[in-house]
Amino acid sequence: MKLSDTIRIRLTGRGGQGIMLAGAILADAAMRDGRQVTETQEYGPEARLGATRADVILSDRPIAFPEVEQADILLCLSRGGWLKYGTQVASGALRLVDVTAVAREPGDPEVRSFPWRARARELGDEVVTNMMALGTLQAVTQVVSVKSLREVLQERIKPALVAANLAAFDEGVNLGRDELSAPGVATAGRDAGIRGGEIHD
Amino acid sequence: MPRFGESVDRYLRRELLPTVWCPGCGNGSIVQALAMALARIGREPEDVVVVGGIGCSGRTPFYLATNALHTTHGRALAFATGLKLARPDLEVVVTSGDGDSLAIGGNHFIHAARRNLDVTLLLFNNAIYGMTGGQAAPTTPTGSRTSTSPGSGSTERSFDAVELAMAAGATFVARTTTFDVQEMPLYIERAIRHRGFSMVEIITQCPTYYGRLNRLGEAPAMLVWERDMTGEPSDDQHGWKTGVFRDDDLPAYGDLTGQNSVRTRA
């Protein structure tokens, strides 16, 4: 059962890539935007390296069912996450992935790959990959505001690391805008109520 | 000044005598010794809680005129842990048997000792399960007969409660016997006054089961046996050394965590 105003987002990656934090920041920011939110996380026995996931559901109405069976938006940072969750998506879902997680499949406009990990290393540390990916998610989908994301990021991240994470976030936004101007994206995520950065009820 | 006997009586429920225990059982001597120790310390009976487990020893709290918390088999120390931290101003004494504390309750025994929780454990060791009719205990000496080790006797090795308590971190550790009726209340008094986990193991006679199954005779003969067994152990004979084996001043559990409850008597 899918409600048109409900968007189900799944973030996945390797343990240690900050998926849980990214999910928490995304959910918190959406709450500040005034939306209904639930956030659930998969807990496995692996504290590090296993494929982890955080699911965030956004809606303009109370969210009855907090589980994401099929994601409308998948954000994936690792190969393991792709193998585990890459196909558990709704028809027409938008999949934003790191280039190392999956080779861009020719002719599949719904899988958009980004060099987040490599750019993060260039910026100084791969640990900011998660915030860069959040930036791209924001730019491509507009499901949450830049203002709220930046606010929450600054509150949730240790002061000494805020600048590096904000820089990564902004870089992610730029990567997303570049992608938006590329052909194909205008139809991605159509069934999820997302079109060209707009949210449809 | 009240006479000594009167002050001891304040801590006893004489109206409940005779006890539930068999004629000749050593547990009555321990009740008497505990009452004497409490009388010398002088806390009000309502400020003392005697916590018992299950088994013959577990019935001890009923005979003291203090608060009584008669709990479940093996878990008396775990109940005492919550009680003591919720009300550090109450005096908490646990009475528990060898099966209660060293078999089913062995985990709570070592962890109460490890935490150096400020309670006193009186470990009644009769080397057998009395309440259920004479089964082998973790303290039953190798070769001793019980209802579950008939014939040539127990083939298992036994626990030494004193060694176990010291290894686990108890800061006051002593052993005495019901033969040593003058020493016993003094050890119990020292144990209660000690800040931290204190254990007094008391070898106590069970003529009904351990004595009968091992042909040790009635209670008087068993007391003589206790006396004879508490010298230096030799190669061919099980024995229990008596005395105070440790008396160390180390921070008790509440001191270490800084979280003794603020709750005091209203």
Partner: protein, 373 residues
């Protein structure tokens, strides 16, 4: 007050503190561990006591010991630990000790599915101890309810002098939702009301912990109102148990622990609780949008079972569908209560996956079709 993303386990801790909790003893276990950790952070600065015990038997024993020391005490665990706690839940019941146990349900039996949700402890929460006892078992289906239910559990434990179980599940426990939680009251020593020392310490009298004007005898043996063991047949404990069971059966805050959704003109209804009630709510929404007269009875109190509400629904509808994440537990007493007044169907699973709104809606449609034919 501000809206904040809060995890279910954290909300339960906040609810406990709001309910006066000042003592926690526990043991780490997924998916309840956050309650242990959060209590470790929150209680000591408030003058409370936090203890990590050596196992769940010890944790529950320490809770009962602390209650007799005057504390508002609780623990939290999941299935395997809940099994270990049963002995001392029974001890708390026979000694009329107020305390609270949260069981965050996960897949079982045994180690089962440690990280995945279930509702398989519903009968254990009621019947897990040997012997008979009064049982109060509450549940929650949102982060907000994890707060309100746990807070209420402390009031009920005190009112009825008995252990109160709060059944959560792995999804509610780990889910974050935006909630506004009221600020915590300042920590205070709440003396128990009946400390005069003139009333008997057991039976229909207020709870009086140790440390009052006269010594108290507490035992897990059958005992009279004075606390002294009475272990002959026909003794006082049966009467005290019956009184306590009757007392909770008449408490309106328990018997009215039901929420009705779209029930006014319903011809079929779902009976659900906890996380499953959310999916059922969505299913009813969908069916209503399609013009079907479906309704939902959401149970917030599982035990005592809200019999009047179930009977009323049974008289009204053509069929009830009990939906739960187990292979058929609460459906049995529901059938017993309904007594053939309407058809009672069951939809359950115990594989760690949630029952989705779609699955519930389809099953409800099938029930509608079968009762019409």
């Amino acid at each position: 007050m501000a809206l904040r993303m809060v995890m279910g386990n954290e909300a339960a801790v906040q609810g406990a503190l709001a309910g006066g909790c000042d003592f926690y003893a526990g043991y780490p276990i997924t998916p309840a561990t956050e309650i242990l950790e959060e209590m470790g952070r929150r209680l000591p600065p408030r003058g409370g006591v936090f203890l990590q015990m050596e196992d769940e038997l010890a944790a529950m024993a320490a809770v009962v010991g602390a209650a007799w020391g005057g504390a508002r005490a609780m623990t939290a665990t999941s299935g395997p630990g809940f099994s270990l706690m049963q002995e001392h839940i029974g001890y708390a019941a026979i000694t009329q000790t107020p305390c609270v146990v949260i069981d965050v349900q996960r897949g079982g039996p045994s180690t089962g599915l440690p990280t995945l949700p279930a509702q398989g402890d519903v009968m254990q929460a009621r019947y897990g101890t040997h012997g008979d006892r009064p049982a109060i078992v509450l549940t929650a289906s949102s982060v907000r309810e994890a707060y309100t239910t746990t807070r209420k559990a402390f009031q009920l434990a005190e009112r009825h002098r008995t252990p109160v179980v709060v059944l959560l599940d792995a999804v509610i426990a780990h889910m974050r939702e935006p909630v506004e939680l009221p600020p915590l009251p300042e920590p205070a020593l709440n003396p128990w009301p009946g400390s005069s020392g003139t009333e008997p310490p057991f039976g229909a009298h207020p709870f009086t912990p140790f440390g009052g004007p006269s010594p108290i005898v507490v035992t897990g043996l059958s005992h009279g109102e004075d606390g002294w063991p009475r272990t002959g047949a026909g003794q006082a404990t049966e009467r005290m148990l019956k009184d306590a069971i009757a007392g909770i059966a008449e408490d309106p805050s328990l018997t009215q622990g039901v929420e009705r959704y779209c029930m006014d003109d319903a011809t079929v209804a779902v009976v659900a609780y906890g996380i499953t009630a959310r999916a059922a709510h969505a299913a009813v929404e969908t069916l209503r949008a399609e013009g079907e007269r479906a309704g939902l009875l959401k149970l917030d109190v599982l035990w005592p079972l809200p019999e009047a509400a179930l009977l009323e629904a049974a008289e009204q509808v053509d069929g009830l569908l009990v939906v739960e994440m187990n292979l058929g537990q609460l459906v049995m007493p529901v059938r017993a209560v309904v007594g053939g007044r309407t058809h009672v169907a069951h939809l359950g699973r115990a594989d760690g996956l949630l029952l989705s709104p779609d699955v519930i809606a389809r099953r409800l449609q099938a029930l509608t079709a079968s009762v019409r034919s």
